[in-house]
């Protein structure tokens, strides 16, 4: 096997592995701060008389906020790695230590914005007698910042792998921005489904959506005491985290294939992904039909 092909294979595998782990961590980070869809429910709760102890980390949309974490961490890492290289440090050590520093700075920024968002939003709920609980902020905050650190670190490393080993023509900070927005979109669209409805509405039947009349009527009590946002990622990592990871990891992994197999040029990964989606669609369709035939219609849909 030619060394170039071996390097590319290692790069593709590494990129896929990093993307998979980043997917789990990012989804947990958003769950720890009630981001995206759950954020609306947490926001609505006090208006219908539920005093909450959730961390209300609203930072202007999950995709852009992840874009900022990734772009900021990667920019700092790139610039710092040049400084380290000037000091005589080896290239890979320089990139790794610079990435850690970049992710640490980014986690501090995320913590500041999270504090601002939580306190400001709780203050805006004063008319509904919602107090500002310090424990609801200070318990999940370091956890959320830690997860942000890991997400930023992984996306930075992923950008360097894409730029260096896989030969992407864009600069690492721009790749990081794209990766961050992509991962945030996937976690928002895929992972949060398993938080918004499953975790917040455990006292209601799950499976056919949440009626508008129940919006904001979320669970307040946890396994012990009042539920706070630390409980949530523990629950969501089982399914929401892994499904996000699968989606993002597969995307990055298959995209790398377009460099290994070039039968259709840049379209290779798109053709492969379309094929996998078709297989999944057929399998899930068959599974649904089998389930309905075996166990009958869903409750409440007998007449349909």
């Amino acid at each position: 096997m030619e060394p170039v092909t071996l390097t590319l294979m290692i790069g593709v595998g590494l990129a896929g592995a990093i993307a998979f782990i980043a997917g789990i961590i990012e989804d947990a980070e958003s769950d720890a701060g009630s981001s995206s869809n759950p954020n609306s429910q947490v926001q609505l709760a006090p208006q219908i008389g539920h005093i909450i102890t959730y961390y209300d980390k609203a930072i202007a949309g999950e995709p852009p906020q992840n874009g900022l974490w990734a772009a900021a961490a990667c920019t700092i890492a790139l610039l710092l790695s040049w400084r380290f290289a000037d000091l005589g440090m080896g290239q890979y050590y320089a990139i790794f230590f610079a990435a850690v520093a970049g992710a640490a700075v980014t986690a501090l920024v995320q913590g500041c914005l999270g504090i601002f968002a939580h306190i400001s939003r709780i203050t805006s709920m004063a008319a509904f007698k919602q107090p500002l609980y310090w424990h609801a902020l200070l318990t999940p905050l370091p956890y959320s910042m830690g997860l942000c650190f890991l997400t930023a670190l992984l996306l930075t490393l992923l950008s360097f792998v894409a730029s260096g080993i896989l030969g992407n023509s864009f600069a690492p900070p721009l790749i990081a921005l794209f990766m961050g927005i992509t991962l945030g979109s996937i976690a928002s669209g895929t992972g949060d489904i398993h938080y918004g409805a499953e975790r917040l509405y455990q006292h209601l039947p799950f499976g056919s959506g949440i009626a508008i009349s129940n919006q904001g009527d979320i669970d307040l009590k946890g396994e012990y005491g009042f539920r706070n946002s630390v409980d949530t990622p523990y629950f969501c990592m089982r399914f929401g985290g892994t499904i996000t990871a699968l989606a993002f990891g597969l995307l990055i992994f298959l995209d790398g294939w377009s460099r290994l197999f070039t039968f259709a040029g840049p379209w290779t990964s798109i053709i492969l992904e379309a094929a996998i989606i078709a297989v999944l669609f057929i399998f899930l369709n068959r599974l649904e039909k089998y389930t309905r035939d075996s166990y009958g219609p869903y409750p409440g849909q007998e007449d349909a």
């Binding site: 208006q47 790139l78 610039l79 710092l80 914005l113 939003r121």
Partner: protein
Amino acid sequence: MTTQPSEPPVEKKEIPNYKLYLLAVITGIISYFIAALNPNLSFISIILIWPAFIAAAGCVEFLCRYGLGTGTSSIGYWGTACGATVVFASQFIETTAYSPFLEIAIATLLGYAAGFCANKIIKMKIPRIELNSAIIAGSTGIIALIILEIFAGGAGMAGTTVYYIYPVMYIGIALTILHPYNGNLGAGENQTRTLMLAMCEAALLTSLFGFIGILLPNTPFIPALGMLIISIIGFVIFVSIWWKRVKEEVYDVVWAGYPEGVDH
């Protein structure tokens, strides 16, 4: 059950956004010439671009009251796309007509055109979207222009290393003008507290840019360090002002405990 809201506090009259923008343009142009003529005084330039963040955040607040999203797809990204892109694109155009006046004017006009199209073609029917879109685009143009000028150390946009920071500049500016309203969302949101948060976040972002400036190879060290120090001082001052306002408006501040009237 719906909780009856208590009596809302009497709110002072809001500051019109065009007044905030006029202030931002004046301070922005002064800021540009300070940075261009004497890079070592760029810490003053940083103070003078904070009004641009406030003007843009004020417009986001105004527009989002009409139902525009405050999250992923929202006016903040739209406005930044118009404003910052004009400044970034101008870096690639070699012309003697290059001037801050021209760039701010083009950014503002582009923002106006985007708002005009939104109302006339897409039929969004949002009052004064043209004006507010123009202000957001102009403000983000001012911010990008001055920060790039400080990083260039008064020597123009020589060198390509500054291009590496475009992604973080773009998304950072967009989030900072968008988040003050997004972070304050709720029945008790008001312009004063939203703009105070905009000041805090503006100082936070310029601190980040100051740190990045220190690391940029071609950027003079002293201006970048000044930017970082002044931004941190501003951040501390603004956060203390914002926190004072929060304590006046919040229902209660408690460490822990069960809410009153809830069985446990």
